[in-house]
Symmetry: C2
Subunit: 182 residues, 2 copies
């Protein structure tokens, strides 16, 4: 088991019960009732109806000022009151990955204000990004968000802003899975 590697297993059992699953763009995943999120390793598990793997890494775009603001404001996963969660796996296009670092950063923050918008929803929305692209998974990122039920409208508002952004023009697969803690 590695501290930074996680499997997200869709199946008939798990710590999170699915309330809604929406495929926004690209292929959907097989329909399941639960998601289990477990510490794992690089070897593939063949459990559930689907299994997605991601690794926690260093931040790749956040600058010092944003990082300090974020570190001061954000809360960790696993808060008792955060009984609701969203699991949103995302793949971006080859055109995105062919861009240089400064071009990607420009689109993420100057054009799309990804960090600036996200910051407004802290600490209500706790989140964690898992990287999947370099380990040859079907998605580039697995994003996970936890919040209290009363904060779900705010979370939806944030998503709606993001999905209209310049950055999201490069998203070619996105599935939005909402869950409640079992």
């Amino acid at each position: 088991m590695n501290e930074n590697i996680f499997d997200f297993i869709g199946g008939k059992t798990g710590d999170w019960k699915i309330t809604k699953a929406t495929t926004l763009i690209g292929d959907s995943l097989p329909k399941v009732t639960h998601v289990d999120k477990i510490q794992s390793c690089l070897i593939n598990r063949f459990e559930g109806d689907w299994s997605l793997k991601g690794v926690i890494s260093n931040m790749r775009y956040t600058d010092k000022y944003e990082k300090e603001k974020m570190d001061a404001k954000q809360e960790k996963l696993g808060r008792k009151k955060a009984t609701h969660a969203a699991f949103i796996p995302i793949r971006k296009s080859q055109a995105w990955w062919d861009l240089a670092q400064d071009e990607r950063r420009h689109i993420i923050e100057n054009q799309s204000k990804h960090m600036q918008h996200g910051m407004k929803y802290l600490p209500a929305i706790a989140r964690q990004l898992y990287h999947s692209r370099d380990i040859n998974e079907p998605f580039d990122f697995l994003t996970w968000f936890e919040f209290a039920p009363e904060d779900e409208p705010a979370f939806n508002e944030l998503l709606s802003i993001m999905r209209k952004s310049e950055e999201w023009k490069y998203v070619e697969r996105e599935i939005d899975i909402r869950m409640v803690r079992v």
Copy 2:
């Protein structure tokens, strides 16, 4: 087998015969005579006396201007005349990884001129970076360079510039393995 995942196996056989191995900082690797570089997958192979795994990823610091200049100038691995190679696995400190993206970029280019210096040695030195940190390997990066024998002094000059840089203050493990193609 995955196109972007490689194992570097140190042992008694392999495509590259070691001519010299120098541990610059940190723990050394067990002494071997050959290195084999093979396409692999995420599962660990227990071959040779040591085995290091790395993945080719997108570029994380290079800006558009640098990328275009580099793409125009650099050559691929595997050139017939490039009978000599260097395999240099590197680990940076936690302090490095705790820095924000703009701070790391500042040290790499503004203070250390990593790309600017590297560019001068293209196309003579062909190179490839393999990422290891996110897959829980003992090193953060595996760097691989190929050149004709007459270009080795130039390569040594480049390394000597890099090792005096601000960026290299964060290097806590580095081993320099020189090889000839078998």
